[in-house]
Symmetry: C2
Subunit: 574 residues, 2 copies
């Protein structure tokens, strides 16, 4: 149960500010997250970590000397927006380039990827390493599809220590990949967590049972078993991880860092009782244990669960793991004192200027605002239904996320419109705000859709059918490129692609905007229904790695609804 | 819910061993608890802390450089025995004397006090400072009756830093008292904690309510209110503590260390949301904040609760608070590396030898064993009833504790008897084992009773009425001296004193052992009934500081029952 909050929607931001207030010697708040308040060696690679909030000390509690330079903090369990990632990366940059590293979730991959493109376009070298330690989330032959759980810590620690040693960005990337390769985790959950303001947990596990293969965002696991004794649990966790040694590691004489992680309400005493047996089992297997950790390191609010992570060491990895660190939520050894920096020395990203626009594009911008109004109304009317669809395979928050995003996006569009922006700029600002406020995968995708269409419309032209069709086509390509989803993966792409193809074909054959859009929208509706029919078959048995894309399935329905509601607006504009 | 355990009775010990396994660089297990595994400066005062288990990182997680030298660990929420305290103190001693410091609870006061007497008797200087930070547990004019909660941390930290600086025992005692004087705490609870193996929590707070003035052993608080917003809670906690500044502190320009402590299942994010407002309020009050702590520092298993502690600083206290520390559960700044010590260098206390005994005393020892058998049977038969009486004002575990203690005591007595011990030694070993296994206040008191009687009977004499009456009289005096309870405080003393007085008077007037004991036992029964009648009036409204003595009320009934059941045994012996 989460009981202590003010306005639930302020919870993650107030937690961030409280954390900074408690650790002013280490942290500074910047738009989108936190960065170190101590000076880093100029020219060192900045390690920027992040993801949704709700996992303290991960992510913001892992910023400090010897650990990360900055942490991007999304809403609870929601990916941060690209704008947030970009802002934190700019503030954390020490002139040595930026390494973005985070757990492998679709929304995070989208947003960090987009931020990386912006940084690189500005001449700031930037690389990405995603973390895939959870053996329960996909089989070994699809290891790249695995998600990141408590293994986040070992990758962050080794990567940051390599940066602290003064290695180049390319060298730090190699270390981060190697640390991820050498890290494996496996966990169980006894009960779900409760978001602030919610009256019940995201899921429950029956009394006396446990869910095997827990996630850290309320995902309920892949199978169920009776709760074993503490020793029995230790044996299960160790056996599963010894069964899958990373390539290149042999058990005899191996060195390993065990991390027994509590997800929230499992108590320290329980963790120590389990660890007692973990320690015995690893010793019996002939492994040498190096600086273990037992505690709450990657949590999931008040979820009841526990995971075991093993980092298999070589000489370099041992040196990096045992190097000193001094972050609010993780301290090891003795760091050299670092100078405090002044807030004025940190680069703070502010919202961009409004570029010049033609009268025609400013008039088109009025139509864009009308379209976003229609979109927001439609989303609002259908939010509950979208939530229900999403609850089949996802976490049921698609409706709420779309509501939050479309409402914020409309406000940004109206502001830009009244500041004299053209169609492209209105759509860009609207898309950025959507992603900023809604977070998650759908926020990222709608940002891509709106900005892609905006770029095609430009800030100089009236409404031109070919430009609109090209914009939708670019949106379709860009969503696939960002989201790594293909047609047939049962995502929003299954609707977007046929919609775009129909629109382009009609426009190419000389049809008017309204007729072409109407036909394409009917095609989208059919595709959405075909996708929705698959949902009941998918249900809970679906592999976990795909589950993080769950909201996109409901997204197929949203997209079809939205294309339809825009027909009257186009009629008025056209 | 506590879910991960093996045999519930092994839980505290397995947790201790798991903790040591995870922190071999800092900790070493010794009988009764843990000590540092690093070398301390010879001649420095050893700071030994302790109490019941279930409060991690307090107590064992606070052993390490810059913090405690040793921690004594009792059963869950039960005071450790004097033997355990003695053992840990001997192992932690660096030749500079020992400071024992712990929260002010009756059982701890008894056992640490008794251990201190043994250490002093052996020529090891030893002092005691109890912690009384909880403003809810007694009014200001009875500040010595207050119990210790999260303020344990500030007192331990300052005391240990003073020891680390090389101060003498007398100087360290002054610092410990001053730190306690400058520390105040206040807390609330939202739900109780569950012991391993128990099917429900020790108490529940109604949904949407909170108990004000929480304890850390499942005590449910002194009043109830609606759960406020996070800001509302911050305001309540800060207002209560600013309302009672320690003597000598003025608000204007004051420096303070705030500690916002989570009791178990309140999450870090919630604590930070509350702390955000605590920080604002203290700044608005014109106070300078120094190195705050927000986290789980003094827990109560999986209890849902939060407390705020304020340590008001002067220059010395600020220096001691900010000094480096490196314990498993608390790290600050950078300590100098310390050399590891070998287990063989640490003094380990083993059970004493059996002294010579006369044939007459060995025969009397057979009677003692028979008496302890009768006692164990009577306790067993009445355990449920004793638990029910205890549940009125205490935590309902008196019957279980007495069962555990009397059973273990009987085993120790039989072993000593078969090893040829006399009456005194049999009673001493029996009493020590009782306190060791049962813990808590009643364990301590029965140890005092049995050893006091044993000393009077000696290892050389047959049963002599005067010796028995003198032993009971000594037991009565020693229990009052240890427990600080007077006749009329509604404790076991209300039965013990009239029983002893009646026995002494009858023996002095020439009555035989059996007749004198029988008369005294009737007097004890009357006194117990008078005490029991008061219980329903006392109930939940009773002040908290007295509540920790709750088990002694049920103890009055036990004592009366036990005196009665011994009459047939005395008839056989006499």
């Amino acid at each position: 149960m989460t009981r202590l909050f003010n306005d639930p929607s302020d919870f993650p931001d107030e937690a961030r500010l409280g954390l900074v207030a408690a650790h002013r010697d280490k942290l500074m708040a910047v738009p989108g997250g936190v960065v170190r308040s101590t000076r880093s060696e100029p020219g060192t690679v900045a390690v920027v970590i992040g993801g949704g909030s709700g996992h303290y000390p991960t992510f913001a509690g892992l910023v400090g000397q010897g650990l990360a330079h900055g942490a991007v903090m999304g809403n609870l369990f929601c990916s941060p927006s690209a704008q947030q990632v970009y802002s934190v990366a700019k503030a954390a940059n020490n002139g040595g380039g930026v390494l973005l590293t985070f757990g492998n979730y679709a929304g995070d991959v989208l947003h960090f990827g987009e931020a990386r493109e912006r940084l690189v376009a500005e001449g700031i070298p930037c690389e990405i390493v995603t973390i895939t330690d959870d053996v329960a989330s996909a089989p070994l032959n699809e290891i790249d599809k695995r998600r990141g759980i408590a293994g986040d810590l070992t990758v962050f620690k080794a990567t940051a220590a390599a940066a602290e040693e003064g290695n180049s960005l390319a060298e730090v990337v190699v270390v981060a990949r190697e640390a991820n390769h050498r890290t494996r985790s496996f966990g169980v959950a006894f009960d779900g967590c409760t978001l602030p303001g919610a009256s019940d947990a995201l899921f429950h596990v029956p009394e006396g049972k446990m869910a095997i293969g827990l996630g850290i965002h309320g995902e309920p696991g892949i199978s169920e078993a009776d709760v074993p004794s503490a020793n029995g649990l230790a044996e299960m966790l160790v056996a599963r991880l010894l069964d899958e040694l990373p390539e290149g590691v042999t058990l005899a004489g191996a060195r390993v860092v065990p991390i027994l992680n509590g997800l929230g309400t499992v108590k320290y005493e329980e963790l120590f009782v389990v660890y007692r047996r973990v320690d015995e089992l690893l010793r019996e297997a002939g492994v040498r244990i190096v600086e273990p950790d037992v505690g709450e390191l990657v949590t999931s609010l008040d979820m009841a669960g526990v995971s075991l992570t093993l980092l298999w060491l070589d000489d370099e990895m041992e040196r990096l793991w045992t190097a000193p660190a001094d972050a609010p939520g993780y301290r090891k050894g003795s760091v050299r004192p670092a100078e405090a920096i002044d807030a004025s020395e940190v680069e703070v990203v502010v919202q961009g200027e409004i570029p010049e626009a033609s009268q025609a594009s400013r008039e088109l911008a009025d139509g864009v605002v009308a379209a976003l109004e229609a979109l927001a109304v439609t989303v609002d009317e259908n939010a509950e239904m979208l939530g229900r669809i999403d609850a089949v395979a996802g976490d049921g928050d698609h409706g709420i996320g779309m509501q939050r995003g479309s409402k914020a996006c409309l406000e940004a569009a109206r502001q830009a419109q009244s500041d004299g922006a053209g169609a492209e700029t209105v759509l860009r600002f609207a898309g950025e705000r959507w992603a900023d406020k809604a977070g998650g995968t759908s926020g990222a995708i709608w940002r891509v859709i709106l900005t892609s269409i905006g770029e095609a419309l430009g800030d100089e032209h009236p409404l031109v059918a070919e430009r609109l069709a090209a914009g939708v086509s670019a949106a379709s390509d860009n969503v696939m490129s960002f989201g790594k989803a293909k047609p047939g993966d049962k995502t929003l792409v299954d609707v977007l692609v046929p919609f775009s193809e129909s629109l382009s074909a009609s426009v190419a054959s000389g049809e008017g905007v309204v007729a072409a859009w109407k036909k394409a929208s009917e095609r989208a509706g059919e595709a959405a229904e075909a996708t929705a029919e698959l949902l009941p078959k998918v249900g809970r048995a679906r592999p976990l790695a795909e589950k993080s894309l769950g909201t996109v399935d409901a997204g197929a329905t949203s997209l079809a609804l939205i294309t339809r509601c825009l027909i009257p607006v186009l009629k008025r504009c056209g």
